[in-house]
């Protein structure tokens, strides 16, 4: 298997404004993870455990303090469409139509219209927005905005897709629709996905492996292999192994109460 992302001894510190100068908080420490091609990795953990900090480093928005972080053998230093991000908030460019949002990236990178147009049509069809290509973001529902974000990421053919609690703001029914959409997108493109969530069921349904993070220190507490084969349907949520894994992870998260600082 190809190693897509390698994180070794990764650490990220922030200087904290509340404390004496020079004192720093370790947001992420000793983070070791290898993500292989076509895997869907879900990271769960309490808010403030550093899961978003880790994603920000992988995205190239922030630099690690120390440790190794490589994408396909290359160190990560800046943002790139190779590591497309689906943000929690529907961050589309409100002055551009859905189609223009999707093609802005390739167009700006100098991809020829003959190449990016069919690709944009394809990804819009994959996320079910082909009829909404000329709509503006304000004309879309919350779920459709997230589909548009996914299309914007897919069009670049990313090495790794980063999803930062992308469905957290959606209602339960819409969330289920989005999970099924993501599964079908995965079947079609077989992308490698790093998915952050605090919803244990969501993680179990989507992931090959669920990474449970602890807080203080922000590091990996445990990694669960999720054995259900693909393509998955919601039927697996009724599987006793699903309930068992869910109970175990919830217990693990609950057993590590937030340390007071």
């Amino acid at each position: 298997m190809t190693e897509v992302l390698v994180s070794k001894g990764l650490e990220k510190c922030f200087s904290s404004p509340g404390r004496a100068t020079g004192q720093r908080i370790k947001a992420v420490t000793d983070f070791n993870l290898v993500i292989e091609a076509e895997e869907i990795i879900c990271i769960v953990g309490p808010s403030g455990c550093g899961k978003s900090t880790f994603l920000d480093m992988v995205a190239g928005f922030t630099e690690p303090t120390s440790g190794l972080l490589e994408i396909m053998g290359e160190e990560i230093h800046r943002p790139s469409p190779d590591r497309g991000v689906v943000f929690q908030q529907p961050v589309l460019f409100p002055w551009l139509s859905v189609y223009d949002n999707v093609v802005l990236g390739p167009k700006s990178r100098g991809v020829k219209p003959g190449d990016y147009r069919p690709e944009a049509d394809r990804v819009l069809k994959s996320v079910g927005l082909e009829k909404f290509r000329d709509h503006y973001p304000y004309q879309l529902s919350g779920g459709m905005k997230q589909r548009a974000q996914i299309a914007r990421v897919l069009v670049a053919g990313p090495k790794l897709i980063l999803m930062d609690e992308p469905f957290g703001a959606l209602d339960a029914q819409m969330r289920i629709n989005m999970h099924e959409l993501l599964i079908s997108v995965w079947q079609e493109y077989k992308p490698t996905i790093l998915f952050i969530t605090h919803d244990v069921e969501e993680a179990l349904f989507l992931a090959n492996r669920v990474i449970v993070m602890s807080q203080h220190p922000g590091t990996i507490a445990r990694i669960y292999d999720i054995p259900f084969e693909r393509p998955r349907t919601y039927a697996i949520t009724a599987d006793p192994r699903f309930a068992e894994a869910r109970a175990e992870i919830v217990e693990l998260l609950r057993a590590k109460p937030e340390a007071r600082t």
Binding site: V85, F87, V91, F93, L104, Y136, R152
Partner: protein
């Protein structure tokens, strides 16, 4: 404006006109201190036919609009890019903050005499004054617009692989556009206010000159007609800018 409310606006305008007509035509108010609508209509026709102070009416209107537009456009051309840069670069912000902070609170009218003293009574000082007064608003609003752009939208731009200059042109500029349009609206009304003020000193033509000159000769109907023309042009200009704003920023606030 939605239809039901439009009637209220029309009614209040009609009521004002009716009150004015009743007061003046009935003789309750002396015609010499407040001319009636009928007198003003005659005066307007007269001005159209014979002009004022040796120049046709349209040339007074034209020169005022020219001065306002020239000062206003210069302020937009220089102020918007400057404001965007200041909003994006902390060093530039630090450099310009004290300068703008000092000059902005000074009412521009205070500079009129100085401008006449240094630059004479030609077009330069009038346009310069309007330019200067508009500039601060445009710079500050554009800079504020850039500072208020959510971090995430910049990140989204970086994430899809935009270079620094692409990010500026394709994300920062459109994202700051609502604030820039607000600045343009404010600057347009400032420019129109100031053109009249600047023409009160050292002008031989223009609407400001016309109302000052006529008032000095107690020719109040001309003064009133001048003021009404100034008001109407201001209103039309404001409506035009709102229409442009709604078109360009159809996505705003939704």
């Amino acid at each position: 404006m939605t239809t039901p409310y439009r009637w209220y606006s029309m009614a209040s305008g009609a009521a004002l006109l009716a009150l004015w007509s009743v007061l003046t035509l009935s003789g309750l108010v002396d015609e010499r201190s407040l001319p009636s609508p009928v007198t003003l209509a005659q005066t307007f026709a007269d001005l159209l036919a014979r002009g004022y102070s040796g120049s046709p009416l349209w040339s007074h209107v034209g020169i005022s609009i020219f001065r306002a537009l020239a000062g206003f456009s210069l302020a937009i051309l220089i102020g918007v890019p400057l404001g965007l840069l200041i909003g994006r670069h902390k060093v530039l912000e630090a450099v310009f903050a004290p300068i703008i902070g000092f000059f902005r609170p000074i009412p521009p009218i205070a500079f009129i005499t100085l401008f006449v003293f240094y630059f004479g009574i030609g077009e330069g000082p009038k346009i310069g004054l309007i330019f200067m007064a508009c500039l601060w608003y445009v710079v500050l609003n554009s800079a504020e617009g850039v500072r208020n752009i959510p971090d995430l939208i910049i990140r989204a731009g970086e994430n899809i692989g935009l270079t620094r200059s692409q990010l500026f042109l394709k994300v920062v500029l459109p994202a700051a556009l609502p604030a820039i349009m607000t600045a343009i609206r404010a600057a347009s009304s400032i420019s129109w206010t100031l053109v009249v003020a600047s023409e009160l000193i050292g002008a031989q033509a223009g609407l400001g000159f016309m109302i000052l000159d006529s008032a000095q000769y107690f020719n109040l109907p001309v003064t009133y007609v001048g003021i009404i023309i100034i008001g109407l042009i201001g209103l039309v200009w404001e409506l035009a800018i709102s229409a442009v704003q709604r078109r360009v920023l159809h996505w705003q606030g939704k």
